[in-house]
C-alpha cells in the first residue's frame, strides 16, 4: 500500500496513522482500509448497550474524500439495522448545523463512536433515516451477526473482546452533538484526481445513485405549475381589464 500513495502527502500519512491506530479490533468497533484502496475502509460496530440495537453487529463502508481530514468521511451501512437505510451515504454534522462544522481534528474513530451514540436517537424523518419499531430493530439486531461481508467475511468474528479506549470527557461532549443524515448523491460528486476513487466499484454503487431524484423532480413540477397558474391569472385579469375599457369607451 505504501508504494501506491505519496506518503509525503499529509492526508495519506494521516490515514496510514489512523489505520495503525485502529488496526487492533476492540469490542465496540473496528475498521480498516481495503487492501487496494486507502480511501475506502470497512468498519464493524456493536450496537449500543441498553438499546434495541444491543444484540446487533453492524458492518459498513467508510468513504474518505480526497480532501480528508479537511472534509468529513462518508459512512454507508451495509447491515440492515432499522435505523439507517443501507447502501446510502450518510454524513455527520453537528445537530442543527451544516456538515461544514466537521473538524479536521476528529478522526475515523470519532465518526464511529458518534455513529454508535447516534443509533438510538429518533429518526425524525431525516434523509437516510428509518423509523422501524423496537421489535423490528431487535429482530434485525439478532439476525445481524450472521451477516457476511463479501470482502471481510462473517462480521460477528471481526470484533474482539478488548475494551476500547474510553472517550475523554471532552470527546464525549462532542460525540453527543454529532448527528448523521443522508445526502444527495449528485451534490457530492468527488472532484478531480481519480486515484482516490474506489478502484473496484462494488455492488452498492448502483443502489446509491437512484435515491432522492423523485423529490426534487416533484419540487420542480410544483414550481412550473405555480408559474403557469400565475400566468393564466395574469392573462385573465388583462382580458377583463380590456373588456371593461372597451365597454367604457363604447358608452
Amino acid at each position: 500500500m505504501a508504494e501506491k500513495y505519496n506518503t509525503k502527502c499529509p492526508g495519506v500519512k494521516r490515514l496510514m496513522r489512523e489505520a495503525i491506530e485502529l488496526a487492533e479490533a476492540t469490542e465496540e468497533y473496528c475498521a480498516r482500509p481495503l487492501e487496494d484502496n486507502l480511501f475506502e475502509w470497512h468498519f464493524t460496530v456493536r450496537g449500543p448497550r441498553g438499546t434495541d440495537f444491543e444484540d446487533g453487529i453492524y458492518h459498513g463502508r467508510i468513504l474518505l474524500p480526497k480532501e480528508y481530514p479537511m472534509h468529513p468521511p462518508h459512512i454507508i451501512l451495509l447491515t440492515p439495522n432499522g435505523r439507517f437505510e443501507v447502501n446510502k451515504k450518510i454524513c455527520l454534522s453537528i445537530s442543527g448545523h451544516h456538515p461544514e462544522t466537521w473538524q479536521p481534528s476528529w478522526s475515523i474513530r470519532t465518526a464511529l463512536l458518534a455513529l454508535i451514540a447516534f443509533m438510538p436517537t429518533p429518526a425524525e424523518g431525516t434523509i437516510g433515516s428509518l423509523d422501524y419499531s423496537p421489535a423490528e430493530r431487535k429482530t434485525l439486531a439478532k439476525r445481524s451477526s450472521n451477516w457476511v461481508c463479501p470482502q471481510c467475511g462473517q462480521i460477528s468474528e471481526l470484533l474482539s473482546s478488548t475494551a476500547a479506549k474510553p472517550p475523554t470527557e471532552e470527546e464525549q461532549s462532542v460525540l453527543n452533538q454529532i448527528a448523521f443524515k443522508g445526502e444527495e448523491e449528485q451534490a457530492q460528486k468527488p472532484l478531480g484526481e481519480p486515484i482516490f476513487e474506489p478502484q473496484n466499484i462494488p455492488f452498492t454503487q448502483q443502489v446509491l445513485e437512484s435515491s432522492d431524484t423523485t423529490t426534487s423532480f416533484l419540487d420542480q413540477l410544483t414550481e412550473i405549475l405555480v408559474a403557469l397558474l400565475i400566468g393564466a391569472i395574469g392573462i385573465f385579469i388583462y382580458r377583463r381589464w380590456n373588456a371593461l375599457a372597451s365597454a367604457d369607451s363604447e358608452l
Binding site: P10, E100, T101, S105, W106, E124, G125, I127, V174, E183
Partner: protein, 275 residues
C-alpha cells in the same frame, strides 16, 4: 437556516423534504463557486505590484483614493485564495517569510511553537490528531529555521520552498488547521476575557467549535487577537472599505506590538502587504 426549521416530527412530510432540497441546492451552488475559485486562484499568489490594485478599482473613486493612500505606504501585494482560510494562510505565510531573515525572532517563535502541542492536549484536544497537525506544522517551521539568516542563494531557495509548500493543498491546509487549533486553545485558556467579544449566548467553547476549528470559517477580530496573542506576533491590518475618508486605517494586534506581518483587509478577505 437549519436552526429555524421546526424539529417536530409530525410534519416530517413534504415540508421537511423541500427545505432539505433547498439546503442541498444552496450547498451545491456553493461547492460549484468554491471549485471555480480553487481552479482560478492559487492558495498564495506571486508578489504583485500595488498598481494591479489601482487597475482593479479604476472606475471606483472611493476605493481609488484609498489605493493611492495604500501605494504611498506599501509597494507589493500577495493575494491569497478567498476560501475562508485566508487570514490564517496569509498570516502564516507572511510570518514564516519574515522569519527567513530574522533568526532571533525565529528562535523566540520556535519555543512558542514547540510548547503549543502540550497546551492543546492539556485542554482536551485529541492527542492523536493534534500530533498529526503539529508534526507537519513543525516540519515547515524547522525548514525555515535551517536556512534562516543564510546566504542570499539559500534564502531564495527556502522562500521558493515555502511558496511551493503553501500552494500544496495538503501542507497548506495542515498549517491552517494547526493555527486554528492554537487560536482555539488561546480562546479557551483565556475564556473569561474572550467571552466579552462573543455576541449572543454562545460560550467560548461553542464559538471555537463552530467558528474557529472548522475549516473555511472566516476570521473576525477575535481570531486575530487570539492568534497574535498566542504566538506573540505583531500584526498590522489595513482596512480598505467603503467607509469615509481617503485613508486606509491601520489596526495593530496585539495593541502596541511591533508589526511583523502586514495584511490588507477588504470586506471578507485578507491579502499580504509588503513595504
Amino acid at each position: 437556516m437549519a436552526d429555524d426549521a421546526p424539529s417536530s416530527s409530525t410534519f416530517a412530510g413534504n415540508s421537511v423534504d423541500s427545505s432539505i432540497n433547498q439546503d442541498e441546492l444552496i450547498m451545491k451552488q456553493q461547492r460549484e463557486i468554491e471549485q471555480e475559485i480553487s481552479e482560478t486562484i492559487p492558495l498564495v499568489g506571486d508578489l504583485e505590484s500595488l498598481q494591479t490594485l489601482e487597475k482593479e478599482y479604476n472606475e471606483d473613486p472611493v476605493y481609488m483614493l484609498k489605493v493611492k493612500d495604500l501605494s504611498a505606504k506599501y509597494k507589493y501585494i500577495r493575494r491569497t485564495r478567498p476560501d475562508g482560510n485566508c487570514f490564517f494562510r496569509a498570516f502564516s505565510y507572511a510570518y514564516l517569510e519574515h522569519l527567513v531573515t530574522d533568526k532571533q525572532e525565529y528562535e523566540k517563535f520556535y519555543e512558542i511553537a514547540k510548547n503549543s502541542k502540550e497546551i492543546l492536549v492539556a485542554l482536551g484536544f485529541p492527542q492523536f490528531t493534534v500530533e498529526d497537525f503539529y508534526e507537519t506544522f513543525m516540519e515547515v517551521v524547522q525548514r525555515v529555521g535551517e536556512h534562516a539568516g543564510g546566504t542570499l542563494d539559500e534564502l531564495g531557495a527556502i522562500r521558493q520552498e515555502l511558496h511551493d509548500k503553501f500552494n500544496k493543498q495538503g501542507y497548506s491546509d495542515y498549517i491552517v488547521v494547526y493555527l486554528r487549533l492554537i487560536t482555539s486553545g488561546q480562546l479557551q485558556t483565556e475564556h473569561d476575557f474572550y467571552q466579552n467579544f462573543i455576541e449572543g449566548s454562545r460560550t467560548v467553547t461553542e464559538f471555537c467549535r463552530q467558528e474557529v476549528e472548522p475549516m473555511y470559517k472566516e476570521s473576525d477580530h477575535i481570531h486575530i487577537i487570539a492568534l497574535s496573542n498566542a504566538l506573540k506576533v505583531g500584526v498590522r491590518v489595513r482596512y480598505m472599505d467603503r467607509g469615509e475618508g481617503s485613508q486606509v486605517m491601520a489596526h495593530d494586534f496585539p495593541e502596541g506590538a511591533k508589526p511583523l506581518v502586514h495584511l490588507l483587509y477588504r470586506p471578507g478577505h485578507y491579502d499580504i502587504l509588503y513595504a
